[in-house]
């Protein structure tokens, strides 16, 4: 049986671990909030860019022959995997890696990878996958610039004909307790695919955050009303400057940037959500251990006292 001092030392060490996990949980909670707020802020942009693209394609359907829209026979597929840089977030990275691996196994075409985040890179490098580019250290709040760099690389690989299809594998944020690894096709862009355009913006931010945002103001409502009007007369005689084709050519990369940006934000939120859950569980476990050790310590102390008393009594009895 361990002595009281040993047990005390253990309790101290578990207590300090508990302090750390508790702090990490709170940090994760605040970062989760940050990521969600950013997503809410980017929502008007998403809505507008989507609306402009739809109207543009409606007005000039014959101009839709953009390199990023036209489908080609698929020979090589590029997967973009978004993971975290660091661990300590439960099964978040493992889930993504497993999903990615399953996809790769099933795939009959040649596949290459772009990894965002250290975890995914390390794993697939060990697996010997073909990693064409890697991005790391995006920090705790991914910025639009990061997304633009990633998207630029994707567009470059696609337009130069190295790959014929690009899919994004990231973690969808359902709730703090649940993050679902998801695959999404980025290129070629399918303009009327609703899952593509509306996926990241409404379902996960609305429930948790109510902010005085752009859309909630009376001005925003007026804009909505006007937009409704516009939809009913879609074929406006727009003047295009320089030309519809040129506009589409600059719009689509921006749209792609935005998709990657949303996915980065959502992944970050998922990571922080997973981390929060994991750290909460760790804190609970530490509490359980402390309780167990405290009980053991009290027993040991009691036993020591009892032993001492019986020794004294025994000693006194021997003297008589």
């Amino acid at each position: 049986m361990e002595g009281v001092r040993d047990i005390k030392r253990r309790i101290r060490s578990v207590t300090s671990m508990q302090q750390i996990t508790r702090a990490m949980k709170m940090v994760a909670a605040s970062r989760l909030r940050q990521a969600q707020e950013k997503a809410v802020e980017s929502r008007p942009y998403t809505q507008q860019i989507k609306a402009v693209m739809e109207r543009l394609l409606q007005a000039q359907p014959e101009d839709a022959e953009n390199a990023l829209i036209v489908k080609r026979p698929v020979e090589k597929i590029l997967y973009v995997l978004i993971t975290a840089d660091r661990g300590l977030c439960g099964g978040y990275n493992a889930n993504l890696q497993r999903t990615m691996q399953t996809i790769l196994k099933k795939e009959t075409h040649t596949c290459s990878l772009i990894t965002v985040g250290r975890r995914g890179r390390d794993f697939f490098r060990r697996q010997g996958a073909d990693i064409v580019a890697e991005f790391m250290n995006l920090g705790d709040s991914p910025s639009y610039d990061h997304a633009a760099v990633v998207a630029e690389q994707i567009v470059h690989l696609y337009t130069s004909g190295v790959v014929d299809k690009v899919c994004l594998v990231y973690s969808r944020f359902v709730s703090v307790l649940s993050q679902v690894p998801t695959m999404l096709c980025l290129l070629p862009i399918e303009p009327d695919d609703d899952s593509l355009t509306g996926y990241a913006d409404d379902h996960w931010t609305q429930a948790s955050i109510h902010r005085e945002g752009f859309r909630e103001t009376p001005r925003g409502q007026a804009a909505d009303a006007q937009e409704g009007q516009k939809v009913s007369h879609p074929i406006d005689n727009y003047i295009f400057e320089p030309s519809a084709h040129a506009i589409l050519e600059t719009l689509l990369p921006l749209y792609l940037n935005k998709l990657v940006y949303s996915a980065l934000l959502e992944s970050k939120a998922s990571e922080q959500g997973a981390k929060m859950t994991a750290m909460d569980a760790a804190t609970e476990n530490a509490k359980g251990m402390i309780d167990k050790y405290t009980l053991a310590m009290n027993r040991a102390r009691q036993a020591a006292i009892t032993k001492e008393i019986s020794e004294i009594v025994g000693g006194a009895a021997a003297l008589e």
């Binding site: 008007p44 402009v52 543009l56 752009f214 804009a223 006007q226 727009y238 003047i239 400057e241 921006l254």
Partner: protein, 143 residues
């Protein structure tokens, strides 16, 4: 004044401006675009530069770095990759950025096997810095 129209500027990091304005001048890729109320429907790409708008008879400025504008039904929507209002621009920082960009441009041009991407990036950075300085309130003092 013929009245006002709705002008909104949105960037990926949020809505920058939503106001009823009287007049807007945008740096279109094909030259400056002036927009008054009841403008005909228009879509144009927007270059990096300074946007001027008249709000309550007062001209205000902001810096944008590329994007799109859509005009229809007295509603002007500017989708910008970045957009900063004049009052949010730190002129000294913009001056620093400009100096840095010029330096990088020089380096990129001096190298014989000049990497095009470096050159384009440096140029874009310089353009952004110049438009920020142009848009900032203090900008005129320095130029």
């Amino acid at each position: 004044m013929a009245g006002t129209f709705f002008f909104q500027v949105v960037s990926p990091v949020g809505a920058v401006l939503t106001e009823d304005v009287q007049f807007v001048v945008l740096p279109g890729t094909e030259g400056e675009l002036g927009i008054l109320p009841n403008h005909t429907p228009l879509m144009s790409s927007v270059a990096c530069g300074v946007v001027r708008y008249t709000l309550h008879d007062e001209v205000k400025k902001m810096a944008v770095s590329g994007g799109f504008v859509e005009v229809s039904h007295n509603q002007v929507t500017l989708l910008a990759e970045t957009a900063e209002l004049a009052e949010h621009i730190d002129c000294f920082r913009a001056e620093d950025a400009k100096a840095r960009a010029e330096e990088r441009l020089k380096v990129a041009m001096s190298m014989k096997d000049a990497n095009d991407i470096d050159l384009i990036r440096a140029e874009a950075a310089l353009k952004r810095a110049i438009s920020r300085i142009g848009a900032s309130d203090q900008g005129n003092k320095f130029s």
